[in-house]
Symmetry: C2
Subunit: 223 residues, 2 copies
């Protein structure tokens, strides 16, 4: 009997990560979703993560890690989320966010004996985040191969970033082809208690333009 | 006025990390201790971290991160800690432990605008842990330099491992020279509620032999 290879997929409940999950499933991986509750302003992101993994029929593990104790971001602190377009590294940048997420995924992969991790990072619409760049992912993979038992015993570890070169429109087209229901996802930095998007923050703007450019109706619920 | 450079020091409350802290202070760094509460079996390690940082006059931040949700180690699961000498990678290995610790330290360093992280890893008595090897630390540093704002803006990030090539006896001599009070530390994998060591686990054995080889009286409190 053929057993599918296991993969850990980082799922935030946003548009990108659910597309990465659909791609991993489409490639035949037996997926285990991991979501990190890093002290987001509201629960709507985690509620979305539960909805999208339920829809995909994939188990979701939620790890609490309160990064507010460390601080330094408008997403976890009491800094206002900007509503006009910003340049450079935005205040919504969470320090070492993808490094931490990937490290938790690496631990989970090691326990599952999985050699594959999927993360929905994107270097096109990345808004200046250093840890979304291909050179970062490459260096992370190098490190990960040395960090684990598998590394000592001659195994492999691959960090898959299927969205890294795609525009938001490409991502939406790809996910739609794979049957992703984007109405279940939340991308907004300041969604309300019901998971309705503000329509004004960087993340909302990029998402809205993506649906428009893809020529696909935007199913986002706006407040 | 000269301002000391800031450094984040990972402090577990054990013999190695308190020595790394003393070395960082001796090098003139303004130290910020970080301890991760990853669901250790008992509080004695964290109590020790508080005692040693109080003694050093350094602020301690404790981040809760319950790795029991991920599992896979005798230190966080209900697997028995072995009392006879083991070979290969021991069951006390916590998956991706140093990768996770360093990633949290990296986030903290970024918030503090510190370019230096100290970790008391050791490749001599490392008992087969993949993430204590110099090649892992080197790869981690490469990744860290790309992961952060400082990496984008041309800064640096150095992972200091002052103990990596030292024997346990060397570490104890070094720390004793710097005035470290090792009676405050706990190394035992299964210390009791009072922080008294079992005297039988791998960690106790290595520590006991270290004091003996250093010719320094062992101040450890045994149960």
């Amino acid at each position: 009997m053929h057993t599918a290879k296991k993969a850990v997929v980082l799922v935030s409940g946003g548009l990108d990560s659910v597309t990465a999950l659909a791609i991993a499933q489409n490639q035949g991986f037996d997926c285990y979703a991991l979501s990190v509750d890093y002290g987001q302003r509201h629960r709507s992101e985690l509620d979305a993560a539960q909805r999208v993994t339920d829809a995909a029929g994939v188990p979701l593990k939620v790890l609490p890690l309160d990064l507010r104790a460390i601080g330094g971001s408008a997403l976890t602190d009491d800094i206002d989320v900007p509503e006009s377009e910003s340049t450079g590294i935005p205040v919504t940048y969470v320090p070492a966010r993808n490094t931490i997420m990937l490290s938790l995924a690496l631990a989970f992969a090691e326990v599952l004996e999985a050699d594959d991790i999927f993360i929905g990072v994107n270097a096109v619409d990345y808004s200046g985040y250093p840890d979304c760049r291909p050179e970062f992912i490459e260096a992370y993979q190098q490190m990960a191969r040395l960090a684990t038992k598998a590394g000592v015993e001659g195994g492999e570890m691959t960090i898959h970033t299927p969205l890294i070169d795609l525009t938001k429109a490409d991502i939406i087209r790809k996910g739609s082809d794979l049957g992703v229901d984007y109405s279940l996802t939340v991308s907004c930095y300041q969604a309300d208690g019901e998971g309705r998007a503000c329509g004004r923050c960087d993340s909302c703007r990029i998402r809205k333009e993506g649906f428009s450019a893809a020529g696909i109706p935007d199913p986002t619920r706006y407040a």
